[in-house]
Structure formats: C-alpha cells, structure tokens
C-alpha cells in the first residue's frame, strides 16, 4: 500500500478532519458539544502547523505525486495559511451564534484546507477545484447568521460574481489544455506561446482577478466587505487572495523555460500588458475611491483592492536569480501577502471589537474619540493602519520596500524593464494617496471628540488575543523582516527544479543535488 500520499497530505487531512468533526459537533444538542468546534478548529490548525513544520521545506527535488507537487512554495503557503488561519479563528471566536459555531468554524477550516491544496495543485483540474474549495465556504461565511438586507445583498452578489469568475477561470483552463494536450502543469510546455495560450491565460487571469479583487473585477468588494461581519471581512482579505496569487504564480511558471530564472517572466506580450494595466488600474482605483468613503469597512475594502495592485506589481517584476532579495519580485509578493493578511485582519478585528450605538463600529464617526475611550484598541488600530500605510517600524514598510525595489531594479530588457519602473512610480504615488484616508482613520480615533461613545465589547478574550497576535506579528516582522524574508525566498529555488517522480522503479540520480538551504547559504555568502 502506498502510504506516501496520506503521509504527505497529513496537514490537509488534519484540517479537513477537524472541519468534519466541527461540523458534526456543532449539530449536537448539549452546550458542551456546541462550544467544542472552536477549540477543535484551533487545535487542528496547530497540529497541522506542527506537522508541516516537522516535514520542513522540500528536499532538493520537489516530489510530484497524484497531480500534486510537494515543493517549497507549498511549504511556505501551508505555513502562512495556518499561522494567519489561527489568528482568523481567534478573531471569529465570539462571532457566531452558538447554534452556528460548527458551521462557521468548519467553513473556515475547509477554506484553509483549500488554500493548502491550491499550493500543492500541479494539475489544472485540481487547481480549479482547490480554488473553488477556498471560495465556496467564503460565500457561506458572508451571509451566515445575518438577516439584515446588506448581508443578503453581499452574499448574493459575492456568490453570483464568484460563479461567473469560476466560469471564466475554467474556460481559460480549457484553452490551456487544448494548447498543451495535458492538464499536468509540469508537463505543459507552453513556450513559445501561441494564440490559444494567450486567450487561455487572459481568461484565467480574469477569473483570478476576481478572487484577488483586482480591477476591473473589483466592483463587488466594497459591498461584500461592508455587508459581511467584520471578522469575515478580515478573512476575505487573505484567503481568496492567497489562492488567487498562488494560481497566478503557477500559471506564469507554465511559460518559464525550465532552466531560466534570470530575467523575470517569459510571458506573451498581451499577458504582460494585461497584468500591467490591471496592476496600475487596481492601485489607482482602489486608493482614489478609498479617499471618498466615510464608512471604515468600505475604506478598508478599497484599501484591499489597492494592496492587490501592489502585490501584482511585485508578481509582474517576477523572479530574478541574481542580486539578492531586493530584486526578487516573487519573494516580495509572497512576503507582502502575509503582511497584508495580518494587518488587514487586525484592522477588522478592532472593528469587530468596538461597539458604537449598540452595534459593531462601521462608520468613521463611530470611531471618534476611541483614543480616549479605549486607548488599547485605538493603539492596535493605529499599528495596523500605519502598517497598511507602510510606515516604519511596522511590517508594511518592509513589504512595500521589497515590492517597489523589485520593480525598479528588475533590470528586464527593453520595454518590460522600463514599464516596470513606470509601474513602481505609479505605486509610490498611490502609497501617498492612500495615506490620505489611512490618516483620517487614525486622526478620527485620536483627535476628534466622541460622537457615539465607542466601547470595547466585554467578554471577548478571543478577539483580543487575535488582535494582540496581529499587532505583535506586525511589529516583530517590522523590526526583524529577515525571518519571513528567508522563508519567502525558499519557493524561488525549486519552482523550476525538475521534479522527482515517486515511483518504485525510479532510480535515484547519481549525485544528490544541492538542497534549497545550501543554495541559499551559498548566495548569502557570495
């Protein structure tokens, strides 16, 4: 019996097992059974994290088995998804009605397992299914337990537009399959790209653009973020975005010649222009529309759109082998997405914690005077918002430094390099525009007289703990970005490495290749 697959998939199996148990326990009649799902969910996330950590990054050759690829990208994505996932669970701790705890925590875990499987997917069919596994639970989370008309609008819009984007994605995949003749990503050789590949890529990019809320597929974001409960909105800023960006990385690597990682991406001109325009429009639209909002949730929704634009800049800059971490756009994007996930979750955790006029804070007026009424919550919000702005010593500062330095120093030949520099300039201007509305949030907390008497909801240890975790993570990464940067550099080395095929007859290569760590150490020393 081949036990390899079950062993390799242990983290995902633990998370899915936890979700299934949480779902069933949530149906129980006794209060004990109904309170179990939260602890069970947190426990299974910790267990999955420990197992992933114990396995470590992939060996020198990534293992390919059953349509999956166990490489360092998967290792990194599994670790960050589980870490941020634990914070997400804490922020949701007090949200659901006891009768719906099982459903809510099971959906979070299913979505989390979807992200982990997306990072493993090495087959177009599996990639599509795993992205949907991330998305479908989020449709449920947006509208579950909420009867007001805003939440229903949000759930309905999110569901129908999400289905449309899934259709675009799978339609694009069908073109890629038609061009390559296989669904296995490692065996797809799409370079040089023909017309079908370009059409397929553009359709797939459009489908993914919805998941990451990039223009022109961003229109749903503000309504959905406003209608959903604040903790769920914090989740929406991370889960679908990670899945979308991982899918983008996997699609872009399809056109990469196997040995060449020196000059960014090797994509068709039309795809480059498409992503360039999407990145520029996403940043600009997000920030300019953010300036016009008076509702903090809508403000943060537009900020979420803008941050997707920054991440697209890094992704477009692409992997660059020489010149250290400041030139590598891929690791800059992988770094940014974690930092964004944490700071965005922290900001929404504050909104979930603060009550004004007897309901969760939402309008800018609700936060007026928060600095005096609830100094700790105001401080936490300030840390998260400053990080979103990109001020040192928060994590958001380094995240932006890596993104824009990768775009500027990319050094791609010809118009690609020049247009990346233009994109970086647009991004920097946008960071300044964004400060306009971020500072308004902080100024309202500290400088304005209270309007609605904001108070922190009592007996909410879970949210408080999650918020504390977010703030500590932001400050620690802001002071010492090296640790996360080291991790985000790992996937870079073996994404293009030829895979080891797990068969019994396969002979091992005569001389063992260097491990990822050895390559990394060599580069750091040189």
């Amino acid at each position: 019996m081949n036990g390899d697959l079950f062993t390799l998939l242990a983290p995902e199996l633990i998370v899915i097992g936890g979700a299934v148990l949480a779902l069933l326990l949530g149906l129980g009649a006794s209060p004990g059974a109904r309170s179990a799902p939260r602890a069970l969910a947190l426990l299974s996330v910790f267990a999955a994290f420990l197992v992933t950590w114990y396995y470590g990054p992939s060996p020198a050759k990534p293992l390919e088995l059953a349509g999956m690829r166990f490489d360092s990208l998967a290792y990194y994505i599994r670790l960050i998804a589980l870490s941020v996932g634990a914070l997400v669970l804490l922020v949701h701790w007090h949200l659901p009605h006891p009768a719906e705890r099982g459903d809510v925590f099971a959906m979070i875990l299913f979505s989390l397992a979807g992200i982990m499987l997306t990072s493993l997917a090495n087959d177009l069919v599996l990639l599509f299914l795993t992205i949907e596994l991330v998305s479908i639970p989020t449709y449920i989370l947006v509208s579950i337990g909420r009867s007001d008309i805003r939440a229903q609008e949000a759930g309905l819009k999110y569901f129908f537009l999400g289905t449309l984007s899934a259709a675009l994605l799978v339609y694009g995949f069908s073109f890629l399959y038609g061009a390559a003749g296989t669904t296995n990503l490692s065996r797809m050789q799409l370079s040089p790209a023909g017309g079908f590949v370009t059409i397929g890529l553009l359709l797939a990019f459009a489908g993914v653009a919805f998941k990451i809320a990039a223009a022109p597929f961003h229109v749903y974001a503000a309504d959905v973020y406003q209608g959903a409960a604040a903790p769920v909105t914090g989740l929406l800023g991370f889960f679908p975005k990670v899945a979308g960006f991982v899918a983008l990385i996997k699609l872009l690597f399809l056109m990469q010649p196997s040995d060449l990682l020196t000059a960014g991406w090797n994509m068709p001109g039309a795809a480059f222009v498409f992503l360039w325009v999407v990145a520029a429009a996403t940043m600009t639209l997000g920030n300019v529309l953010g300036l016009m909002q008076t509702n903090v949730k809508r403000m943060l929704a537009y900020s979420s759109i803008a941050h997707s634009g920054y991440m697209l800049v890094a992704l477009l800059a692409g992997p660059v082998a020489s010149g250290g971490p400041l030139r590598d756009g891929l690791s800059a994007m992988l770094f940014y997405i974690v930092v964004y996930g944490i700071m965005n979750l922290g900001a929404f955790a504050v909104l979930a914690l603060i009550q004004a006029r007897g309901r969760p804070a939402e309008e800018l007026d609700d936060l007026a005077g928060l600095g005096r009424r609830e100094p700790l919550a105001a401080l936490a919000l300030a840390i998260c918002v400053f990080s979103l702005m990109g001020l040192p010593p928060t994590a958001g500062f380094f995240a932006k430094v890596y993104v824009f330095s990768a775009a500027i120093s990319n050094g791609a030949a010809g118009w690609h390099g020049l247009s990346l520099i233009v994109l970086a300039v647009i991004g920097l201007i946008n960071s300044a525009i964004a400060a306009g509305y971020y500072l308004r949030i902080v100024a309202t907390c500290y400088l304005r007289e209270p309007v609605a008497e904001p108070i922190a909801e009592p007996r909410t240890a879970g949210i408080r703990l999650g918020l504390l975790g977010c703030c500590i993570a932001i400050l620690v990464i802001g002071v010492w970005p090296g640790g996360l940067l080291y991790m985000s550099r790992l996937p870079f080395y073996d994404l293009s490495a030829p895979p080891a095929v797990a068969t019994h007859s396969n002979a091992q290569s005569p001389e063992p290749a260097e491990t990822t760590e050895q390559v990394y150490a060599k580069e750091m020393n040189s």
Partner: protein, 142 residues
Amino acid sequence: MQEVVLAQAVSLAPRSYAPILVLILLVMALVAGILILTHVLGPKRHGRVKDDTYEAGMPPVGDARRRFKVQFYIVAMLFLLFDVEVVFMWPWAPLFHHTSVTGQALPGGFDKTFLLVEMAVFLAILLVGYVYAWKKGVFRWN
C-alpha cells in the same frame, strides 16, 4: 512496466469515437420520442397558472426577496450529491478490479488497499454531508 499496467488498466476505454456517436443519436432519439409521446398522449388543460412559466412550483414573477420553501432545492442538491458520487465510483471500479485481480499497483504505487481506503474516505465525507443535512431537518416535511 508502469506504462504496461496503465495500458491494461485503461484498456476498458473505447478505442474510437463511434460509440459516442451512437450514444448521441440514442439520446436525441429518446428526447424526440418522449416529446412527441407527451404531445400526443398527454391531456391538455389551459389556465392562467397552467400556462405560466414553469419555475419548479413557485411564482416566476415577483419580489426577489419574498420567502419561499427551500426544502425542494435542498433535496434536489442531495440528489445531485449522490448522483455525482456514482460518477466518481464508476471509473474507480474498473481500476480497483484490475489491481485486485492482477495484484499489480497502478503507476505511483497505488495498490488495491490504497484505492479501497481512498474510496472509504470519499464515502465517509459524503456520509458526513448526509448526516449534516439529516440533523438540520432537511427531511422533515411539515
């Protein structure tokens, strides 16, 4: 060796598209036959409700936010669930038969124990969905 095993395993698959053409023709004949038969044999009653657009028993025009019974839809979804389950079991069955008769593992080292455990996990997850629907009261119709 691995390729031989795989070739044997998929040898049940048709070698040409002719059966698919036959299937398409059969389906078209069946649909046409049913339509013609209902047209000829079925009684015809006309009325405001009878001539309305068919929308599975609910009024087709009106405010989208009115309340309606969702039970029918949930039962339909459960039917789909078990329908799809069989679709997955169909390709699994010949592969399992192959591994258990010949004792050979499929490429990747997937032997009959693995296939059996895999299907058991799949069925267990489906069963959870069924239990969930049951406990949520989907089958209580009053």
